[in-house]
């Protein structure tokens, strides 16, 4: 009787355990997908914000029309991009132009203290940061998802149900430098 119970219990436990591993992998995959969508949401947010922000400081920054123009230009390219490669190139060019703009503002102390310029600076900084952090989170999740698939015994479940490793996002050096532009509050 006891033996029978053990024989019945062991496969049950193994199955329950495999279900747990499977669910863990599925949960991670869903998280990876939603993190990927979150990056798109943030990029879209940036596209929507830039025209308004640029318009509010256009009058104040006559001497930097070129820098502002480049931001708008890069934005137009990013909005118009269709293929994935085009998109990623255009978005990183946009990040760079925004970074350049933020650096330029630093050169004009009188303009820097203007309320609407400060607001613009803050909005651009947080937009860039939000994109950067969404990417970072996506990569963190990809790492966890991929590691989980390789670790025994989850690797057995992953293999059985055809889980595939997700792809890391390459973060370009120029882009990563943007959040380090110092915009001290004090």
């Amino acid at each position: 009787m006891g033996f029978l119970l053990v024989f019945a219990l062991v496969p049950l436990l193994v199955v329950a355990w495999a279900i747990g591993l499977y669910n863990g992998l599925v949960r991670l995959r869903v998280q990876v997908e939603s993190a990927w969508k979150q990056i798109d949401v943030q990029l879209k947010r940036r596209h929507d914000l830039i025209p308004n922000l640029v318009n509010t400081v256009k009058g104040l920054m006559k001497f930097e029309q070129e820098t502002l123009g480049k931001v708008m230009e890069a934005r137009a390219k990013a909005v118009g991009a269709t293929t994935v490669a085009e998109k990623s190139a255009a978005e990183s060019a946009l990040s760079q132009s925004i970074g350049r703009f933020l650096a330029v503002v630093e050169n004009y102390p009188d303009i820097k203290s203007n309320q609407s310029v400060l607001k613009l600076q803050e909005e651009l900084t947080t937009t860039e940061n939000q994109i950067g952090f969404s990417r970072q989170h996506y990569n963190d999740l990809v790492m966890r998802f991929n590691t989980q698939q390789q670790i025994f015994p989850a690797s057995l479940v992953a293999g059985m149900f055809g889980f595939k490793p997700a792809e890391f996002l390459q973060i370009e050096a120029g882009e990563r430098a943007v959040p380090s532009v110092d915009l001290s509050l004090t």
Partner: protein, 332 residues
């Protein structure tokens, strides 16, 4: 920097184990208190005269039930009570500094993959911050006005990341539970202490006339230990709450470094918060363990000595800064 540093995970795992141990000890204390009450005051072990009456614990399950009910109460009502008592108001986007705060919180919610928490500001000039809520979906991050005025963006990001760490690690839930457990422990030990006083050694409490004298030495030993526990429980519980809080601060610091990839920002913020060591008057004693730095501004948190460590809600800031700086060093 596309990967999370492994040492961050190690730090988190170690802290999780320590916390699990403390919470189990908390529950064990509840059970021991209850059983002792059954044994010595309710006379559940009335085996005098040869007839062994089966041991039916009554106080122990009641103790657990009361603890459980109080935990549920604190779980749903604790967060709003803390927010109300510290006069917190929602962050105002028309104020530039508070807009920056909202932006930084949004950045950190993206870095952590959590839902956007509610953001509150406490009108107090001393820099401090805390997080409350029963789960990440109902979390609230609160900072003082002084914090917004004294920290730069990078430092503010570190502090917000630290609070998001508390949210992600479910510290906010555990701290609420610990507070509720502590409350019930104090209540029960107080009740037991009163019962001893009024019931006396040969008390007529309980239907079975549980008067007991003499007995086996083992029982006497347990009785002595139990009396000691009854009297010391408020202190033991307090120390446990403090210890849970302390290990969690290191844990949240590690999470902050993981989210921002910039441990130095938080280290600098901690240094500034420490320098402004004046008490945060708006935040009451009962919420001290929730804050990023002890709002009581006590010197006890600055020392690492054994006695000082027992009573501090927070680890020494110098030690936290040293750990954060070593994380930054390890990455270079």
């Amino acid at each position: 920097m596309t990967t999370a540093r492994p040492e961050l995970w190690e730090e988190q795992a170690r802290n999780r184990r320590a916390t699990a141990f403390l919470i189990i000890a908390f529950i064990a204390l509840l059970v021991v208190l209850g059983f002792g009450f059954d044994l010595f005051l309710m006379g559940a072990r009335a085996d005098r005269g040869g007839a062994t009456v089966p041991f039916i614990p009554i106080a122990a399950p009641i103790a657990l039930l009361v603890g459980g009910l109080q935990a549920v109460g604190g779980y749903y009502g604790g967060a709003s009570a803390v927010l109300a008592s510290s006069r917190a108001r929602p962050a105002d986007p028309s104020d530039p500094r508070e807009q920056t705060l909202l932006n930084v919180v949004s950045e950190m919610r993206l870095a952590s993959g959590l839902p956007m928490p509610k953001v509150y500001v406490v009108p107090d000039a001393d820099p401090n911050a805390f997080a409350v809520g029963r789960d990440p979906e109902h979390a609230a991050i609160t900072v003082t006005r002084g914090l917004l005025e004294q920290l730069d963006r990078e430092e503010l990001q570190g502090v917000v990341a630290h609070e998001m760490g508390h949210v992600r690690n479910l510290d906010i839930r555990t701290m609420t539970l610990v507070a509720a457990l502590l409350g019930s422990l104090v209540l029960l030990s107080d009740f037991a202490a009163r019962s001893i006083r009024f019931g006396g050694a040969g008390g007529a409490r309980g239907g079975r006339g549980g008067s007991r004298r003499g007995g086996e030495p083992l029982i006497i030993l347990f009785f002595v230990v139990w009396i000691a526990l009854v009297l010391l429980t408020p202190f033991i519980g307090q120390m446990m709450a403090f210890a849970v809080s302390r290990s969690r601060e290191y844990h949240a610091d590690a999470s902050a470094a993981e989210f921002t990839r910039n441990p130095i920002g938080l280290a600098r913020a901690l240094r500034k918060i420490e320098a402004a060591a004046a008490p945060t008057t708006a935040i009451g004693r009962g919420s001290a363990h929730l804050c990023i730095a002890d709002p009581r501004g006590r010197a006890v948190n600055e020392r690492e000595g054994r006695v000082a460590s027992l009573f501090a809600t927070h680890p020494p800031i110098a030690k936290r800064i040293a750990i954060l700086e070593s994380m930054a060093g390890a990455r270079a």
